[in-house]
Subunit: 344 residues, 2 copies
């Protein structure tokens, strides 16, 4: 939590994190932190989500490896990690756990639920599962269901993990996981987070610490070395089984699952106001995917603001276009809070 | 070869194949063929590239596994397959081998060189390496250099192969190759050949032979089963080392490599006329990438026709939009042939 919950408990904002995120959303948790929370430019005292005014709550998703129960947690029945005996979880399960936390904190109704990417899926699930529990819903760079292309990339990523002999059907030791498979999965995901334009600008065909091509299978191009670095670094902070479980949760995500895929019907329950943001070069969760659910919200006469931000950062824009995104979120929260307090 | 070379040897068209293609471009080579050549709808008697009129030549690329010399060929010095002692080859090497074949056939100047995807790269290389050896150049769904996004996907694909313990640094037995790694590489490539729209239309979130989700890590969605099938089938006809070598050749492809990346300068040598075709939903080799080299051709006053075909088939459109593409190619070849014969 960041910021203080007011006496009326009307200023709480739940921020939901993406696939590789965690509860450390802003500020410094300890002196040993290498960097501040993942959305520190967005959230803090005087920032776009102003913790002088709002109380920001962010918890680790269930199935993850950063504090909540996940496949590497100890099964009390066996005294060993669950690994693949851990049940497959869904985005709905993540949201259900968050709701228990909010109940525990004595918050009847959140001011807003805000999240990007997989966080945006949780936000959408909140809007239909707990329609009375949030005034506003802010899905960013996300989709109302996982597309077959999204599912396909996840399948290949998990195949890389499962094919790594160190995976051992999930029964690896803590210090000997399938880092090569998990690294490959992360490299693949990383490509989908960038756009062709941003990769061309950042790397082009620049060589990695050399003047001419070596014509072999080692690093020749800077983009290759960068990807390997990203893959390696990810293995230091993320667990392979969690990666399998959380990606599987996203595969299963369809906010209209209960209504046989009819999204207009699914959104009939919605009571909150919406701010939806997409990014023009995001091809993982495209503007077309945002429009798809925005149209369904509008058919249900849900108050919805929608903006496609022009950006060539690809999916990562939701973490990089902080100023453009932040101004919209700030004003939307201001309006929501004023309405809630009867001042607008 | 399909069709007859005329007495003047002026009707020869070289067709260059893509990554997983081969010399079997049309018709049936033997009774045991499961299907006709990979571009049979385009090429044949009375078809868009009419073998009653033209003589079509297609050879396997060097480094491949369908007949030419590649990493699995026997090294005469050792009596064993070259494997990783095979030199890294480039698109220029592929084209050089084709030129030797054309010389061998006594053809001084081809009527045209036509190819899509990696075939299109060979076509572009022809235009600058042998400017006097083709009247017309037809690059389809391709790019003048491999982008960092393309390079990145290849890196992950080869990582999947190299991480497979059966790969054994390329020293596997013929009947025990790294099929899991090669399968994963093919699955990944397959995603890049389709568009989000075509995948959504073809698969959506349809389940695979079941009525409800199983919530596990096996096949739930049709797209998952389809990908696995594609990966498995590919391993039956393609060699893992060849896959590494040929993808590496594409990584290195930059038609402007000799001119320090200056593509306008690179195209100064060009003498042929061009027909360039891209497909609107192709994100592997986008229309923007075609426009990039079309602009450089135009700056050199090369006679260039360019068309972006509206299609939602993604990169695969170059094999699927045969009628739209075929009519353009047919008319362009007709015009080229008439000009060559002094009738236009």
């Amino acid at each position: 939590m960041a910021g203080e919950l007011n006496a009326e408990r009307t200023n709480a904002i739940l921020v939901t994190h993406a696939l590789s995120g965690d509860a450390h959303v802003c500020g410094w948790h300890s002196e040993s932190d290498a960097k501040p929370g993942w959305w520190d430019e967005m959230i803090g005292p005087g920032k776009y989500i102003d913790t002088n005014k709002y109380c920001v709550i962010c918890s680790n998703v269930i199935g993850g490896c950063s504090g909540t129960t996940g496949p590497r947690s100890i099964d009390p029945d066996t005294g060993k990690p669950y690994n693949l005996t851990f049940p497959v979880v869904t985005v709905r399960d993540m949201v259900r756990a968050q709701k228990k936390l909010i109940d525990h904190l004595g918050i009847e109704k959140l001011l807003a639920v805000v999240g990007g990417s997989m966080g945006g899926m949780q936000v959408l699930q909140w809007s239909v599962d707990y329609p009375d529990s949030a005034c506003a819903i802010v899905p960013i760079a996300t989709a109302s269901h996982f597309s077959p292309q999204n599912i396909a990339f996840d399948w290949v990523a998990r195949e890389a993990i499962k094919a790594d002999p160190e995976w051992k059907a999930g029964e690896y030791e803590d210090d000997a996981g399938p880092t090569r498979g998990l690294g490959a999965a992360r490299m693949l995901a990383h490509i989908t987070y960038l756009s062709e334009q941003s990769m061309s600008r950042k790397f082009g065909r620049t060589l990695q610490n050399k003047q001419s091509l070596d014509f072999d299978f080692n690093f020749d191009f800077a983009v290759e070395s960068y990807l390997e670095y990203q893959g390696r670094r990810f293995c230091e902070r993320f667990d392979a089984n969690s990666y399998c479980y959380i990606t599987r949760a996203t595969d299963y995500f369809d906010v209209a699952a209960d209504t046989g895929g009819d999204i207009v019907e699914a959104f009939k329950k919605v009571k909150a106001d919406f701010l939806v943001v997409s990014f023009s070069s995001d091809w993982l969760f495209s503007t077309a995917q945002s429009r798809y659910f925005v149209n369904a919200l509008l058919k249900n006469k849900v108050k919805t603001s929608f903006c496609e931000v022009k950006s060539d950062y690809g999916h990562d824009a939701f973490l990089l276009e902080v100023d453009t995104l932040g101004r919209m979120v700030r004003d939307f929260l201001y309006h929501t809070y004023e309405v809630r307090n009867g001042r607008l």
